[in-house]
Symmetry: C2
Subunit: 185 residues, 2 copies
């Protein structure tokens, strides 16, 4: 089946500090016309820092769209042309106040595919050395340390709404369990 | 630490078919002023339909913001005041062409917490009876059946970018494994 949608025309509605908004006229696979509202975003990185005792460094932060304080892994948006790995190392040090011996890529997520082009590149950080967090000016957050096992239970019980945090916790659990398995064998 | 951000003023930039965009003036916890760009969305539902042989009914769909065909679980946005469970049953029948004996809630995800207020309510459907899919007019999709085990490997290998699909696959695997464990005991 033909699935491709063809762009006919694009109109920029808003050019903001973080997001840009476009309304595009498109042609559907059956030749009919339709529109798409698209939010464009520079992309972001996130990282799950897990220490030797399988504790995770988490961030509590007020999230304005929900008026809620959420429990999340460290993350930040990409600067133009910034290398994701460099961005991760920066966020790790600024937000969670740790150095990591190993920072490995564990996949990318598209946050919400119908309306937004944001990609979040995900990393696992291990071999942690604790230092002091020093968030950006205008960034207000609390750093907390929680066992990975507890976080997995919280995800399964629906107690961690943030999507990147849910994925990173479930992936980290599987990756680390598989490594331990290999060592035991 | 005080984390709350206070709304001072809200200006609506765009009122679309799917999204609304606002720029709000806010006061940070330290009393300084800043702005927040917020996209508002009616919310959505998604469902992972798993049959008796642990195959999952998946959807292939062109996603305009990325110009890519993505592999996803069935999903759809909520109509105003629509009950999420009713919406799931509708999407399940329309998009994937199955009836389900059991549709259970497995948690909610916030897609991208800094800029968007979208919540996706997630469900697991089991006890499937196959019928015929009949997507909405203007909705072009392909239905495919893939073993849950394969999908878990694809998520771990970074081959399924869509966030709701990653979460639903990893959660469904854990939920179903735990149930089998209980039966065996």
């Amino acid at each position: 089946m033909e699935l491709f949608e063809k762009k006919l025309n694009s109109r920029q509605i808003f050019d903001g500090v973080v997001v840009k908004l476009f309304v595009d006229d498109i042609e559907l696979p059956n030749g009919k016309k339709s529109i798409r509202e698209i939010v464009r975003h520079p992309g972001a990185v996130c990282v799950i820092p897990v220490d030797e005792d399988e504790n995770v460094i988490m961030i509590k932060q007020f999230r304005y769209p929900f008026s809620e304080v959420l429990l999340e892994i460290p993350a930040g948006k990409l600067e133009p042309n910034e290398d994701p790995l460099e961005a991760v190392k920066r966020e790790l040090e600024e937000e969670s106040g740790v150095n990591a011996e190993s920072v490995e890529y564990i996949g990318t997520m598209y946050t919400t595919v119908a309306i937004l082009d944001e990609k979040i590149h995900m990393y696992l950080a291990t071999g942690l050395t604790y230092k002091n967090a020093h968030p950006d000016d205008g960034e207000f957050l609390e750093v907390v340390k929680i066992p990975l096992k507890t976080l997995v239970e919280m995800v399964m019980d629906g107690k961690i709404p943030d999507s990147k945090t849910q994925i990173a916790i479930l992936k980290a659990e599987k990756i680390l369990a598989e490594r331990k398995n290999k060592v035991i064998k």
